[in-house]
Subunit: 314 residues, 4 copies
């Protein structure tokens, strides 16, 4: 089977086009209903909270691929201006203010539904060129996901179970690995869950330097996990890697073929560059791998992705 | 009493300097403990969720004051490039990507603890010029608040109770208004709560146009509410206005004197430009004014503020 | 004649498509040859120099139309950091550094040949969607004009000759006005010249406030001046207005129809928002309306416009 | 002699503080008078023109040092939007528009007088923290140099004369090298000239990859050339390297000590990352090493540097 045939077969078999009507803009986030959110909230048993975001600054992994830089944060006013300058405010008032310029997918992020296309088709079968124009995503912009993305999170620490903490680059995580990890953790993955898959790559690059974290070899989900991602009816999946799927990709000459199936065909929300380490350590300690997860994107009108600071509360 | 004397008196009376040790970087967010987060989660009774963020786009209120623009979102790649161009990807793969440039306080946001100073002093008494330099907030950067900001939210819809839906510009919300609103709602404000005060101004400008929403006349908290903000030991306060306090300010020639007390002296986290309308309508319907609130800032290293999409779940 | 017919007729009559070969990327800049540059340099008779650029800062005219903001200039390091902070440099060294974010056409600028299309055709008849993609202008990017744009400049101060200094908004400058102004000045316009047409609008908005300078009513070139712009074989034209042609446009419901003829069909380089006031005052004094003009765009790869600081030397 | 003593001695010996009055904002650009500009124009003998700028795009040398990125150029509208989308314009009109975000010193540039300080002092002896604040350079912003920077340029191709085309990294160009090169070229350097020193490093990195061009080892002017730079009364100096002076610097532990002398004390305008290769080839061919040079910075208010496209006309 050629790569294109494999992609086409998976696209056909796992398609959710039309499942939530022709006008749908949410994809698998539709699986997060009020019950699921209550169930998520019920996982906040002790109240301890974890940020699953990397820090947004120039010490990030981006090297300029497709014009992606690290975030550039600059000050408009500072405490120095307040103390040694003359800000022109009365009564001893002083202030600092700042700006940022960044690609929306430079660090911890959600891929919007308009981020990836298959043969010119976007989510729900729409023509990609009518969806994402120079003015942004006119149909499935990330702003539509402003409210719903909170519910039950599940951590699958495949790195710990199969890699002694860290999977090697190129390790393809299959359905079997996912199921075995869930079983080892004593946790069940269900419809509407947000599944966080830890590979351990982020721990490694933190220790050894970014290297080619942004686009180079990495552990990640196998192309062949698409069926699992579809069948489980999860709402979203997120990893601690740049691109969520294994790299090099499993087909010669391919580029992110799992993206090509899960975003436009399954309508799956995909998170990348999440920092799962502190949460994973806590889960390993108490043996509880479910939690409340709130991971609302910034509602940037027409965006095809968004930086996010996902909060996990156990 | 001169404005400066009033500010100094409030600063002295309500100071939390040293309350959480000399090294504190969280201020009143310290009031959010695990118990409070569990209590917050318990407020998620039906699972309905609300985004309290305005949309981030060029249709915002900013007009350039102190170099604040509306967010500029641009595309790096589009669906058009995928369909009609040649992105150079194999197997029918196509993608869209985007960037943003924006002031961190251009839309729905948290003021960081390094945002406002009083006579050259930042939160906890530190010299402002040692805290916020050209490289950003070296001590109390918003990244320190990545994990804790989730707990019990309370809506005080003062606009509804005292304004028939919308308070007029210049309306100063006092302790008495806050208490009476809480009583009318049948809700109690407690230590560690995140209090959302709705004035209704955002509803009005949505209907009538932004006008001078960014910095002009507005309803908002009275300078004299500082005692209430301190005594209640709330973790944070947020409004649907540009600047959270009433404008014009209550002292002639003053500029945001309540900020000058609550940020550097109380260490209070302040939210601005929140969109409380949908949540308020729901609360008015079911009479329940408490909810689970997750409002994690983006952990931008050294930032003195952050855009945020606060999620309220009832 | 309908607007579309008029545009089509002018496009057909004044087309330069193919004039410099199928691969041309320079348009009328081809008219600037070495002789013309020598002739320009010979106009530098006294050595006095004028910048024809407005200042690039937040006090500009942009109000957000099509996501155009004023330039946002921010500091990375400051003298305050050098003096009161710790920049980490040895031996008393200190430094300041800065960044800018701006639309390329926010202030004094050149329109690139990829800026405007007519019925999907770009300069020289190329399909616009093959020329300017999400990655920029792949064919006629402004970088191709890095070297040639210097030569003889001619000022036609129509504002002075026909408006007592300032033409009223809506004043359409025709061929007759242009010729009469040249005659009044005692200057001849020739092949390869860069013609600066002063309307005086910038003087007026400087005095009265920007108002709708960016896109509102303005004096400017008449649609019917297209023939003159073609016939004279000038290399470029620039005005002190936002959009170079008269506004409101002369056809009902039209949008910048002269652009639609001169950029894609004539291949004319168009400058906008130039500040011609100081130069005009000098020319009025000495009666000399020709000068050396160096107006090289920044060679931003793939850009469809460029900020520019045009230097006039008399 | 310690590095600090050497720097202090050079600063004292070559200081131009007060030379043009206490209010001066131009430094050695004062040496460019009208006569010099006429003399420059007279060098335009054939009319051939050269851009001395590198291209501004993501393929540049920056790697994030002190938050310096390569320029990020993005499109607001494209030819694709014009052809396949609906831009909402009448009569077949279509347009493309773009924005840029970039450090002002990311590519071919001028260092402003507010760029470098010595022991807290900026050009003309002013306190650095009163000159360059969070709002930019309040005194010597690059906008003050909008008009004067055009005159006689001289190329000293030290790379060709002493390096067979390219000097090795670490090669310190002394006064002797400069004089011998001028002699070899048969050109005299005089007061008010803009001197372009070609090392050949840019040719090498173009061939071999950027490597550490941005801040790493490089040929460049020796610290001990400060006297020559002062005595010759040149208006400006520019090189084809990142930092104009030799690297590693000649004092152990130093950082750009020649900058520390020439910018705050001499008031010298310094250009970096200029592309002198095409001009140098032409000069080698015809043996003429002088030319008309127009190198006006963009007048960005308060900027401590500016991108520039210097035009050389022979």
């Amino acid at each position: 089977m050629t790569p294109e045939d494999a992609i086409a077969a998976a696209a056909a078999e796992y398609s959710n086009w039309g499942r939530w009507g022709g006008g749908d803009v949410l994809g698998t986030i539709n699986f997060i209903d009020e019950t699921k959110r209550r169930q998520g909230a019920a996982c906040a048993r002790t109240g301890v909270s974890f940020s699953l975001a990397q820090r947004f600054d120039m010490n990030g992994p981006q090297k300029g691929w497709r014009r992606r830089t690290n975030p550039v944060h600059t000050m408009l006013d500072t405490g120095m201006d307040a103390v040694h300058g003359d800000q022109g405010f009365p009564h001893g008032f002083g202030g600092a203010d700042d700006v940022i310029a960044m690609p929306l997918q430079c660090s911890t992020q959600w891929d919007g539904l308009g981020h990836i296309f298959d043969h010119g088709r976007a989510w729900n079968g729409r023509p990609a060129d009518r969806v994402v124009t120079g003015e942004g995503d006119q149909v499935t912009g990330i702003e539509h996901m402003a409210a719903p993305v909170a519910g039950r999170g599940v951590l699958l620490d495949v790195g710990r179970v199969f890699g002694g903490g860290e999977l090697p680059d190129g390790f393809a995580i299959t359905e079997e690995h996912l199921n075995a990890t869930a079983e080892a953790h004593g946790v069940a993955v269900g419809r509407g869950d947000i599944v966080c898959v830890r590979t351990g790559q982020l721990s490694r690059v933190r220790r050894e330097g970014w290297g080619d974290y942004a686009g180079g070899p990495a552990p990640g989900l196998s192309f062949w996990s698409a069926g699992w991602l579809h069948r489980t009816e999860i709402a979203a999946v997120a990893t601690d890697t740049w691109g969520f799927e294994v790299r090099p990709n499993e087909f010669e000459g391919a580029f992110q073929p799992l993206h090509q199936v899960v975003i436009p065909h399954i309508g799956l929300l995909v998170g990348e560059m999440w920092d799962l380490d502190a949460l994973a350590a806590h889960c390993a300690d108490d043996g509880v791998y479910e939690f409340f997860l709130a991971a609302a994107p910034l509602p940037i009108t027409g965006a095809v992705g968004s930086p996010v600071n996902p909060l996990a509360i156990k």
